[in-house]
């Protein structure tokens, strides 16, 4: 595999609240290559969205980047680079705007809130394009129209002057995608991009994202709680729980031979449309409370494979042959989910 364009190492994002500290992201590591899709999957509060926002400097107070490195291969800030990589975690305030939107774009879940209802599609698209590229308004509009055409609008010249409320949910998400790819970013982050959509529209948007990714050869970080969508989209998968990377390997291994007890439990509790007379095995208990969580494995209270050792210390993320796992007692005898 070629050299990664993004290397995230031991990323930590903490939120300081009056009641204590919430470790929203606590020791997350992964890398992304050109033309690769990384799927990040986890339940509510597992830290997947916070991870995405941390990468592009969108963490607001009371949150803070508490540690880790985000190495990104980019021509920006050549004087600060080390070995061809820029550490995004070191950027301050406005410096992120040179990266965000131009080199790394992010797509959020709900297109109604990420688009401004008072401005036309043209206004919102040309704003981004003119901010990052040296073009005048007319050229920017031409780029906008070209992008709308790429994301599947039938008559983009006219549609570009519409307001978000004149578009359906799927079309709005297409506009958001058009804005995100308008500066030809090296990395696209999609945070639950299809969760607010109906399944037939979701299928259209997923297909569109696959096509665009193949065309632009960008790296894609795809975040979702839906394992089926992960299976559909990803090359490699990172499973998160309680702010931590639990398991991280290629998509086939995750679904066929998961080693982490949490991944295994998660796969055993999803109903499957393709299976008859399936038996569900729910995970007992509740997802963890993140406030002042102990420095132990977050899955410990619900884990059927816990050891004495798990009560004393936190396992670190270890790897063998590209299979990363955080567990003292992983499943090694190949439990199949096929």
């Amino acid at each position: 595999m070629n050299e990664p364009i993004l290397k995230v190492e031991e990323l930590r994002t903490y939120f300081d609240l009056a009641e204590g500290t919430v470790k929203g992201v606590d020791d997350v590591s992964f890398s992304l290559s050109e033309n690769e899709v990384i799927g990040i999957v986890g339940e509510t509060g597992s830290g997947k969205s916070v991870t995405a926002k941390s990468l592009v400097g969108l963490i607001d107070k009371p949150g803070r980047l508490a540690g880790g490195r985000v190495f990104f291969k980019t021509p920006e800030f050549p004087e600060r680079q080390k070995g061809g990589y820029l550490d995004l975690a070191q950027l301050q305030g406005d410096e992120y705007t040179k990266i965000r939107g131009k080199h790394i774009s992010i797509i959020f879940q709900d297109p109604m809130t990420s688009l401004d209802p008072l401005y036309t599609v043209a206004d919102q698209m040309t704003e981004t394009i003119m901010f990052h590229q040296k073009v005048n308004e007319k050229e920017a509009l031409d780029i906008a129209v070209k992008m709308l055409d790429k994301v599947g609008f039938s008559n983009p010249r006219e549609r570009v002057h519409q307001y978000p409320f004149e578009l359906s949910g799927g079309q709005r998400q297409r506009v958001v995608i058009a804005i995100a790819i308008s500066c030809n970013p090296e990395i696209l982050i999609a945070d639950e991009p299809t969760t607010a959509l109906d399944v037939t529209v979701q299928a259209q948007i997923l297909e569109l994202m696959k096509d665009l990714q193949a065309e632009f050869k960008s790296g894609l970080i795809f975040i979702t709680h839906d394992l089926a969508v992960i299976a559909e989209m990803s090359d490699r998968v990172m499973v998160m729980y309680g702010g931590k990377t639990m398991e991280y390997t290629d998509v086939f291994t995750i679904f066929e031979k998961p080693m982490h007890p949490y991944t295994h439990a998660l796969l055993s509790c999803i109903p499957r449309m393709d299976q008859k007379d399936q038996v569900l095995e729910p995970i007992p208990g509740q997802p963890p409370m993140m406030l002042n969580a102990p420095d132990l494995c977050p899955f410990l209270p619900r884990c059927p494979r816990k050891l004495e050792r798990c009560l004393k210390e936190l396992p670190s993320l270890i790897h063998a042959e590209g299979h990363y796992i955080r567990c003292f007692n992983p499943i090694t005898n190949g439990v199949s989910h096929g």
């Binding site: 109906d198 299928a203 499957r272 449309m273 393709d274």
Partner: protein, 339 residues
């Protein structure tokens, strides 16, 4: 199967629910009808589950609410244990209210934040006169809480002290506390995480075994519907386009919309990544201004001239499998047209 005669719990016949769209200041005129539910028929046996699936705006939630008379039907019949409750007046409806209960999607908004679990659960018991003494209330309460997997000491707590999954357990306890024979489950797991969703689905199945209640399970999630339902109906723009036994529908879908819906649903197995040949184009037309003839014809790749003229009748194509599509109803007189 069941000792008390018929095993049919609920028969819905040609149910309609229209919402008038009004216009004008002072003098309001009805300018159009939104036909949210437009002639839907199905039956549920005692202790069985009927799943209703469809995308947003197809009328699945309206069906559930109309059947238990939270909304008044515009037309059609709803036979609950043989009695047509569609035409009953509010006063005579009271005895049937106890027999039909509902669980909503979001337990945070369906539970009163200012009532403790005990107050929430005792209100229906007292209203329907199902308990006589305070002691009886307490007994019933701890029994209810344990049957949904909560602890007796939870009785004095408020909804905000529980997690989402636990709140949904409270909402389920409230629904089952009056021994209903029909429970409408309107997206009961859609607001929950997958690990908690599985707990709730399992709980619902267990309770059904104990109570012998019929479920109407409404969801947009085909996988969950397949898991829990005995029979399934697929809705599109206020009409049921196909209905039948769950395995039959999922393994042998006949209606072009059902096929597209199943093909569009991703499966959690990277080996089965499909080339999306059946991808639907466009979007659902406005329910106020539906196409003439078959409503699906604007997106259907099999559309033919007949589809523009009239809406296809529901025809039975196999034992327990009916579909409403001209592909199956034209030129084959031996097929039985359902009334």
């Amino acid at each position: 199967m069941n000792d008390s005669g018929s095993k049919v719990l609920l028969e819905v016949r040609d149910l309609q629910k229209y919402f008038p769209i009004k216009s004008g200041f002072l003098i309001q005129k009805t300018v159009a009808q939104l036909k949210a539910v437009d002639g839907v028929s199905f039956t549920i046996d005692k202790g069985h589950t009927f799943g209703i699936v469809g995308e947003s705006g197809c009328g699945k939630t309206t069906i559930g609410r109309t059947i238990i008379r939270l909304l008044n039907p515009t037309g059609g019949n709803i036979f609950l244990e043989g009695e047509d409750i569609a035409i009953l007046k509010e006063r005579s409806l009271k005895q049937y209210r106890q027999k039909m209960q509902i669980v909503f999607q979001d337990p945070t908004s369906s539970l009163n934040p200012r009532m403790t679990v005990g107050q929430t659960l005792s209100e229906p018991l007292l209203f329907h006169g199902m308990v006589r003494s305070k002691k009886e209330v307490e007994e019933r309460m701890s029994q209810l809480l344990s049957s949904v997997g909560l602890k007796p000491y939870h009785v004095d707590r408020y909804p905000h002290q529980f997690s989402g999954g636990q709140r949904q357990r409270i909402a389920i306890a409230r629904a089952i506390c009056v021994d209903p024979s029909l429970i409408v489950l309107d997206e009961p797991t859609s607001a929950l995480d997958v690990s908690v969703q599985a707990q709730i689905i399992k709980l619902l199945k267990e309770l059904q075994g104990k109570l012998n209640a019929g479920y109407i399970f409404i969801s947009h999630n085909l996988s969950v519907v397949r898991y829990i339902s005995d029979r399934v109906g697929i809705m599109y723009l206020g009409k049921m386009v196909e209905k039948g036994d769950t395995n039959e529908i999922f393994e042998n879908p006949m209606h072009p919309y059902s096929k597209a819906l199943l093909a569009a649903t991703p499966i959690p197995d990277p080996k089965t990544r499909r080339k999306r040949k059946e991808l639907l184009s466009g979007q659902v037309p406005s329910p106020i201004n539906r196409p003439t003839g078959c409503f699906f014809r604007t997106r259907c790749k099999y559309a033919m001239p007949a589809c523009e003229k009239e809406y296809p009748q529901m025809v039975r194509i196999a034992q327990n499998h009916s579909v409403s599509c001209h592909l199956y109803s034209l030129g084959e007189p031996e097929k039985i047209v359902e009334k």
